[in-house]
């Protein structure tokens, strides 16, 4: 077998694959919704080792990739204003907007700074009272508690020149939207372990019951993923549709209570547009009215920009799981991690970048058609 000996525990990996071969009697399609999981699956070739018929669909699990183009354009507009210090996680800087990215703003003399934590951005604001400091608050449930704390800390300590450009997204509504799509092929989900470390998995229980779909909370180590897939296939074969937890060593059913409470205090649920997918109701977070003073969109009154994607980019189909990066005509030629045309090629968590780093070729057969030597 192809990459198995590279596993830290090839014996256990082989045992899990044997278990999977013995369990799967029919073709099944399983979606992972975590960019880290996508990367592990593609890099380790796990998707190519699965029994014929068991197929992984790579979902919208990359926060950089789903941040809407309109928000990137707003970030670029705000960062270009004189006197503004625009702070961001490093991986947002190269995401292409309609007219360039944040790195381009920096190259033209804009004050764009990469910070490690949103609390660092609050510190920049406290140190520069004469400047407006904006933090680009994006991400899933994993980064929301950090951004909530930054806003709370700025409010408590009276750092009035600190504001956030918020574009948070939530995983469970995206899962529901995928299941509601008429062309949906996904029959089971691997839920992102670290999202659940914050939020727990109670939100997934009604989804599993209503749509009759197994959901397995899974880590992103290779053996975690194999075990998560085995658990999902076992449920599918037995006709069960439950939420199970593969990642018990880091995740509790109720998640992290203080983190969840901070998120609920600072943010409220709102509709969000997902890049490549479109609007999903109640799928994101915006600042609660109490913290409107720290809302960069209000403070800078940026106009709604009409944004257009690069015409060659099929990121939407990739994020919905109906196409692979290798189906894109620009993949690896006009679109590479150095010169990305679309968001999924930018971040290491994006599916296109994961495929590119693993050296997958455009002409390569899709994983679902690869025969596994037994």
């Amino acid at each position: 077998m192809k990459y198995l000996d590279e596993y830290r525990d090839p014996v256990l990996a082989r045992r899990l694959l044997a278990e999977l071969n013995g369990t799967a009697t029919r073709p099944w399609a399983i979606m992972e919704v975590c960019g880290g999981q996508t990367h592990t699956l593609v890099r380790q070739g796990i998707d190519e080792l699965l029994p014929a018929g068991v197929r992984m669909i790579h979902g919208p699990g990359c926060p950089v990739c789903v941040t809407p183009l309109e928000i990137i354009d707003k970030a670029v507009a705000i960062a270009s204003r004189p006197g503004v210090i625009f702070t961001s996680y490093g991986d947002m800087l190269r995401v292409p907007g309609t007219h360039g990215d944040l790195l381009g703003v920096k190259a033209r003399g804009g004050d764009v700074r990469v910070v490690y934590s949103p609390l660092d951005a609050v510190r920049v604001a406290a140190d520069n009272p004469g400047r407006e400091v904006v933090f680009f608050a994006v991400g899933f449930e994993t980064t929301a508690p950090a951004n909530a704390m930054a806003v709370l800390h700025a409010a408590d300590t009276g750092v009035a020149n600190f504001s956030v450009l918020v574009s948070h997204v939530l995983v469970p509504p995206a899962i529901t939207a995928i299941l509601d799509a008429p062309d949906n092929q996904v029959q089971a989900f691997l839920a992102a372990g670290h999202v659940c470390a914050v939020m727990g998995w109670t939100e997934y229980e009604p989804i599993a019951a209503r749509y009759r779909v197994p959901i397995v909370v899974t880590g992103f180590e290779p053996l975690d993923l194999l075990e998560g897939i085995v658990m999902a296939v076992r449920q599918l074969e037995e006709g069960r549709a439950e939420v199970e937890n593969q990642y018990a060593r880091a995740v509790k059913r109720t998640g992290n209570a203080p983190a969840r409470d901070a998120v609920r205090r600072v943010f409220q649920v709102t509709g969000r547009t997902w890049r490549g997918i479109g609007p999903i109701p109640a799928s994101g977070l915006a600042l609660a009215p109490e913290f409107a003073g720290h809302d960069a969109e209000r403070r800078f009154a940026v106009e709604d920009v009409r944004a257009t994607e690069h015409p060659d980019c099929i990121a939407g189909a990739i994020l919905r799981g109906t196409a692979l990066p290798t189906d894109c005509a620009a993949y690896g030629t006009r679109c590479t991690p150095r010169r990305p045309l679309g968001a999924p090629m930018v971040s290491t968590e994006g599916t296109c970048a994961a495929f590119h780093h693993a050296g997958r070729r455009r002409s390569a057969p899709t994983p679902s058609t690869v025969e596994v030597p037994r």
Binding site: A146, H153, R249
Partner: protein, 89 residues
């Protein structure tokens, strides 16, 4: 930004202004980390850190496995640990 890196708590700050912080060692790189969401984590404990915030406590073996995965992802440690992180492998 979403991967989450495990590290070992090596110091807890005595400073009572602002949220609870500490110093966390990631494979040789040290960072100030907010511990407000894992107040039970003490010196020597392992925590999973997202963008400067500990979000759950894990044991040492789990931390080692996750770090090995992250090292295999191009630039993952540098991206997650911010601009001036130097990654030792």
């Amino acid at each position: 930004m979403c991967l989450g890196i495990p590290g070992r708590v090596v110091a807890v700050s005595e400073d009572e202004r602002g949220p609870l912080t500490g110093t966390v060692d990631f494979d040789g790189i040290r960072r100030t980390v907010c511990l407000a969401y894992t107040p039970e984590a003490g010196i020597g404990d392992y925590v999973i850190v997202h963008v400067g915030f500990a979000i759950s406590q894990v044991d040492e073996a789990e931390a080692a496995k996750t770090l090995a995965v992250l090292r295999a992802i191009p630039d993952a440690l540098a991206t997650e640990l911010g601009p001036d992180a130097e990654v030792r492998s």
